[in-house]
Amino acid sequence: MKLGLVIDLDTCVGCHACATACKEWNASSKVNGALSDYEPFGAEPSGVWFNRVRHYEVGDYPENKTINFPVCCMHCADADCVTVCPTGASYKRDDGIVLVDQDKCMGCNLCAWACPYGARELDQVPGTMKKCTLCVDRIYDEMLAPEDRQPACVLACPTHARMFGDFDDPQSEVSRVTAERGGFGLLPELGYAPVSRYLPPRQPQPVIDADDARALLERGLASLASPVIRR
């Protein structure tokens, strides 16, 4: 199994619902322990998050576009964050999920240095490393209705920009949509073989300027008028 996420950059509206749903679920999860906040009501609030949404502009005006860009752990097939860990706290499961054993971590930060995507954050309170668990405590929970056995971020997304599934199964929704839409992994050149895929925004329609618009209109009117005149 190769569990991971698909993130649709075409439909993501950058609302941060996935990030807050993640924080809410994982703050009370037993897998990582609480996600600490530092000065949550102070002047400079900060804290541990597994999923962060950033916003970019690509292209130059008028062919420009805003891209909202959520990033969390890609559950890489070739995860150096696991290799570098000296304590064995970081490990990869058979289903592909990369986890940190909180009881073993010594807080050396080396795995965070080894992750190209910034998917790992040290929690200053226990002094241990924390990261996305792909909601391992939801997706196998038989007490939940089958449609709820998905990561909290996927369930929260109002535009269905996030999908969860097994990339080893060619019939899964994530495999099919990745093939159809040309889903890509981030920074493949570094060789981590990230599992999660991003779907590119659909191509924008070319922009029409005023002169083009008038020409189009005249042509349209002429073609409408011509049968009338001919008759």
């Binding site: 950033r54 292209g59 570098v84 000296p86 064995g88 010594m106 910034g118 040309g182």
Partner: protein, 300 residues
């Protein structure tokens, strides 16, 4: 990368100590190595689990460093005792060989911790281990020369060894700086978010340029404090000058003068270690992690 004082001190000090140990054993600075390694434990956020770091020798350079360092202490301690008591014979030679091999192993493992990190272009180069090994031997050789001036009948050979390591280390440092200036290896913000110039249809986003509009957090995060350190080019150049002058220029000049008195020799060694502290600070400050691309840096 944020230059953490504890790591800078630990790598320079254990480097000098290890270089010295390796050289002494071939032909101690137990305190330097011990101080260096104790300092690296200080860097841990959860030191009570430090003992577990011996457990991944097969995959992790940090684990290998911990194992070799732990083995080095008893071996080199015993060796020093034999040297001081002028006893030994065969066992002393055996311990010398072991001490030397372990000191080299620790130095190389330390270097490989950094050199193996692919997201940091300025560290992921073969010049990183070459630098760590040669700089450690250079500062260690100076300390050894100072000791030789005080105790040995002839200090000339020690001066020669120090000079050779000094020139080699200087060459390695210059080569390292030259290598990291090569920005053809740099990754860009566009590549980090999958923008490919001229791409059309399914696949990566097409468009030539990308820029950050909003970073998504209102105040600093673990990622900004760990990877967000910025150093102006102008300051970097100035500090490289300081590192060159203190770390290489002055001590090498003193080797050329070559008066075999231990006080100035020790001063040269201390001056070199000061320079190397600046050099090590720069090694961190000039390193740009790929996370910075996601935070809006145009290139690494």
């Amino acid at each position: 990368m944020k230059p953490a004082v504890s790591i800078i001190f630990s790598t320079v000090s254990s480097g000098a100590g290890l270089g010295l140990l390796a050289l002494v054993a071939l032909c101690d600075t137990f305190v330097l190595v011990a101080a260096g390694l104790a300092s690296s434990v200080l860097h841990l956020a959860n030191p009570k689990n430090a003992w577990r770091s011996f457990s991944r020798f097969k995959s992790s350079w940090l684990s290998r460093e911990a194992v070799f360092a732990a083995a080095l202490f008893p071996v080199s301690g015993l060796y020093i005792v034999l040297v001081i008591q002028s006893k030994g014979g065969a066992s002393r030679i055996l311990l010398a060989v072991l001490t030397c091999a372990l000191a080299w192993a620790v130095l190389i493992c330390t270097a490989m911790i950094y050199a193996s990190l692919k997201p940091i272009r300025q560290w992921h180069t073969r010049w990183t281990p070459v630098n760590y090994v040669l700089l450690g031997h250079w500062s260690g050789a100076l300390l050894l020369w100072a000791i030789a001036c005080a105790y040995a009948a002839r200090s000339g050979p020690f001066l020669f060894v120090a000079g050779v390591f000094g020139l080699a280390a200087l060459a390695a440092k210059l080569a390292y700086w030259h290598a990291i200036e090569d920005s053809t290896q740099a990754l860009t913000l566009e590549r980090a978010i999958g923008v490919r110039e001229g791409a059309r249809g399914p696949g990566p986003i097409s468009a030539a340029h990308a820029r950050l509009l909003d970073v998504g957090h209102s105040h600093g995060t673990f990622l900004t404090s760990e990877f967000g350190f910025r150093l102006a080019r102008r300051h970097a150049r100035g500090l490289r000058g300081v590192a060159l002058a203190l770390g290489f220029g002055l001590p090498l000049a003193w080797l050329v003068v070559g008066v075999p008195r231990w006080q100035p020799a020790l001063a040269a060694a201390v001056c070199c270690i000061m320079g190397l502290l600046v050099e090590r600070w720069l090694f961190f400050a000039e390193a740009k992690h790929t996370v910075r691309l996601y935070h809006g840096d145009p290139r690494t």
